[in-house]
Symmetry: C2
Subunit: 327 residues, 2 copies
DNA sequence: TTGTAGGCGTTATCAC
DNA sequence: GTGATAACGCCTACAA
């Protein structure tokens, strides 16, 4: 049974209002009484009950984060960025993992909404009006998703893809395959646009292999397909898929990068410790999370402000899975 | 401005008490009025405010999870297990990542405590009395940590290590090195105990390389050391460290497993997609998370019950980084 | 600078 | 089965 402000008030010989003022540092309290109150409070282990406080102030001191998959290093890192930024602001963090299922999103949001002052939402697919209806007044910043009229933080993955294609081209590759991720996902569109833009510019036809699960198993399918096309280079949706593809290609007797160059995307931590280390597109994942919190700050401070869309740069990192074509 | 129970009551022509009863399905309400209330509620977008509810019932409908590092796949998977189990129970999830810093734990717990009905805490190092003082009455289940008198869910990693050592021995290895993780961590102790137990049984001396960061960079140090000892096999603290070690060993011209067999621990998702795929100790990570929620259920139902300590089995998975010694 | 009192939205208790 | 009403713990005018 935690101590209440009444207990502290009684112990310190003041009223509950004074206790409240001492903690909210809102009204004026004399230094002396404040010290006395604080001393009694720590002695009794008191601090204000967030629920009671929220009921009256409307603020919970929490922010919410909704991601499709916490086990995906891409989102785990984003979550870490959010968590750190939240901690710096002395705010709690409510997390919901929707297991990549769009239909779980509305309930997740609803459960979270009333317990947070703001929401950071990584929704790869759901339509804008669905989001609108669900968030219903809760300040929301989209993560890795851009929708006109919404606050958002995302990465310029299209540009990264263009960098990748140009690099392969300059190495001499002309038969380049692309293995896409989940259909209709926002960042899938970004990738495709970047790739198509650059390929038009280079007057090059990309071999589009189709849509695959962004997992190692998806990568296995990809490898079998790409080997059949005779492509000399592969651009994969993400690092995990690339890992699966490489491991399958090697299993089938091909060498990477000698027989097949591979470029992936995300630059998760494991990308640099594979054999060979992955050439991949570096996406600022932590920063995206903390930036989202920063924007949320602004939005919460002024809910009427014009939405900002922050786009973080990406960067191709050359490691060991790319080389000149040898065939 | 969300609708309140008063709005719904007025619209449905009943009292707030009836609205409350309709939602809490606690008291008795006639089918007809309940339907009417619910209809108005959905029309107005009403549902009970958790803060107000918590204030009077004392229950928040949330559970809390504290982990040292969300970006560590080991804990990310545990978090997913917890999240899924929580969702099934229609509970929200509060997460705090302490960044592997014990000193951040007390504040994290304090911030979370009052907003959750129970706590799942993965604390690799903090002393029992510290935990006790901090949780202060909140039903708590420890995750991957055992302390007498506490509820806990952990994995039998010592046994996994013993399996690993016996397997290496039966392959013919006699010079076997162990690279430990963070000093004083609970699961580090488990590993060591398991290893020492099995080595005594086999009358074998293990080469203890020391303590390393459980990261790929730590693995690089490990590789350089182990190559100097002439060991034919390495047992690494976890998969990530093993990956770093293997990648360094290969860089230095050694072949795995021909020149050096490697066994890791955890069996994270990436363990099976490296080249070669990792022989490692499978730890039921998801299950640990969901089991913890199950125990928490019991504990919350009866806070006076005798603490249960659930220990999940582990299993050595033979993949491609182990073989008979060739030297 | 400090105290008094009303109310935030809900549930629990008591009448009816 | 339903309605008034008093809490829950706190913040915030307003009064002193």
């Amino acid at each position: 049974m935690p101590a209440t402000s009444r207990d502290v008030a009684r112990a310190a010989g003041v009223s509950v209002a004074t206790v409240s003022r001492a903690f909210s540092s809102n009204g004026a309290v004399s230094e002396a009484t404040k010290r006395r109150v604080m001393a009694e409070a720590t002695r009794l282990g008191y601090y204000p009950d967030p629920a009671a406080r929220r009921l009256i102030t409307g603020r919970s001191g929490n922010i919410g984060l909704i991601v499709p998959d916490l086990a995906n290093p891409f989102f785990a890192d984003a979550a870490k960025g959010v968590e750190r930024a939240a901690r710096q602001r002395h705010m709690g963090l409510f997390i919901s993992d929707t297991d990549e299922q769009d239909r779980l999103e509305p309930e997740a949001v609803r459960r979270i909404c009333r317990q947070v002052d703001g929401l950071i939402w990584a929704s790869p697919r759901s339509a804008g009006d669905v989001l609108k209806e669900v968030t219903d007044g809760v300040p929301t910043v989209l993560l890795h998703r851009r929708i006109p009229g919404w606050w958002s933080v995302s990465a310029d993955i299209g540009d990264g893809m263009a960098q990748a294609l140009r690099n392969l081209y300059s190495l001499g590759h002309r038969r380049i395959a692309y293995a896409g991720g989940p259909e209709r996902s926002y960042s899938g569109q970004l990738r495709l646009e970047g790739l198509l833009g650059a390929s038009a510019e280079l007057d090059l036809d990309i071999i589009r292999l189709g849509s695959f699960a962004p997992t190692a198993d998806g990568g296995i399918l990809v490898a079998d397909l790409v080997l059949a096309t005779g492509a000399t280079a592969l651009v994969a949706y993400n690092d995990t898929m690339a890992l699966g593809a490489i491991s399958r290609a090697v299993e089938r007797g091909r060498r990477v990068p000698e027989d097949l160059s591979v470029i992936a995307c995300d630059d998760i931590a494991y990308a640099r410790m594979t054999i060979p280390p992955l050439t991949t597109i570096q996406v600022p994942r932590h920063e995206a999370g903390s930036e989202a919190v920063a924007l949320l700050d602004e939005l919460m401070a002024d809910p009427q402000a014009t939405p900002k869309e922050k786009i973080l740069p990406t960067q191709l990192v050359i490691r060991r899975t790319t080389d000149v074509p040898r065939v």
